[in-house]
Symmetry: C2
Subunit: 211 residues, 2 copies
DNA sequence: CTAATAGTGTCTCTGAGACACTATCTA
DNA sequence: TAGATAGTGTCTCAGAGACACTATTAG
């Protein structure tokens, strides 16, 4: 093996999406040290010797939320040739989706000041994290067109109206009820259950689930 | 920095696409050493200390073809936790597009037995390279929907029929001439020139170019 | 003129968008 | 019954597909 091969440290940055109160949120951590002291940044960590990248991403998610999720996906790489004496660092970006019934434990595994911030309220982040968030959001919008990924935002049982609202949030546009119903019954593999929503002061909607 | 952080070597694997004689080809190299001795594999190389990943990808392309191209794009990562004493290796996948007028120099920079193989003729490749090629092809098809990437396959001046045939090759389906004309004039930024194709025994078609 | 492909007119069909209607539940 | 949302019927419009037509070149 040639002598001048890069020996890089690898870090995983994770953009964690969650829809709370019908608003798209992202998990951010407040930095306690320079640089960018006090600024929000994406949660990240180093890949350890015997870890797959995906494992590290899962661990970063767990460390900040106390939960695991079933959808975590790589969407890009950032490589800057550092002159840092500690060596070169390569960042690999992941995004993860949490469904809105996930209960985030109150006591985090770490002491990081992590919180979900509405994506529309995000200010200036540390490093180039604003552009990473933007790229993750664009990737999410693209990926959702090719699959059933939207289901990872939803609880196991949901109403058509809820699915419609979640789609509207991700796509940042509105859909007409009738046309939306026609679209999903043609393009999604969802199934009507015999159950109905409860505690509503009107005709209750049927609950559906992904099959 | 913690002690148990992965110090990985990074390699770049490149899937080089080219349309030759109206067939989609991929550049493959015949392996001269075990493992998979004699099998075809994708061209690859290590990232050097002071190189950006993209630079390495460009160099891999140059080394095998003697040319540079203006479209080269990352589309995935492969990480296996090697127990190899030389250390961990992470592979980053790129795909590149060459246009069909590119003259590939006869004497390669390296002595690798590199050749363009029609994608439909590819047999069993070394390692998991069959699945990488498949992923690259899928990514190419997706990316082309969002942009003018098809132009990188084409010479600077081309006819509508040529553009149509190239689209048919990438999408692996046929288009109807009239509808295709309507589609591209609405969705592509191409411009008719005053030039016409030459040496044809029939009405010559106008030449177009991307703007 | 003929042969061949370039390039266009227009009908159909499918699916998104718009909007009004009926259905079914609680209070 | 009133109020509210669930769920459906159907018209319109834009774009893809199909197909036949006219245009223009070489020989």
């Amino acid at each position: 093996m040639p002598k001048d091969i890069a020996q890089a440290n690898i870090t995983i940055d994770v953009v964690i999406f969650n829809i709370i109160n019908y608003q798209l949120h992202i998990l951010l951590v407040q930095r306690a040290t320079p640089p960018y002291h006090g600024f929000h940044s994406l949660p990240w960590w180093f890949v350890k010797r015997d870890e797959q990248l995906q494992q590290t991403a899962t661990k970063v998610l767990y460390r900040e939320t106390g939960v695991f999720c079933d959808y975590i996906q790589s969407f890009g790489i950032f490589d800057e040739v550092y002159r840092d004496p500690r060596g070169r660092i390569i960042s690999i970006w992941y995004y993860a989706i949490l469904d809105d019934t996930t209960i985030i434990p109150q006591s985090w595994v770490t002491q990081d000041r992590a919180s979900f911030i509405p994506i529309k309220m995000i200010g200036t982040l540390a490093f180039d994290h604003n552009s990473i968030v933007q790229k993750a959001y664009e990737q999410l919008q693209k990926d959702i067109q090719w699959s059933d990924i939207i289901k990872h935002f939803l609880p196991p049982y949901f109403t058509i109206d809820q699915l419609k609202k979640y789609c509207e949030i991700i796509y940042n546009r509105s859909f007409e009820k009738r046309n939306f119903t026609k679209f999903i019954s043609k393009n999604f593999t969802i199934k009507k259950t015999t159950q109905k929503e409860q505690y509503v002061a009107h005709r209750p909607a049927s609950l559906y689930r992904f099959v």
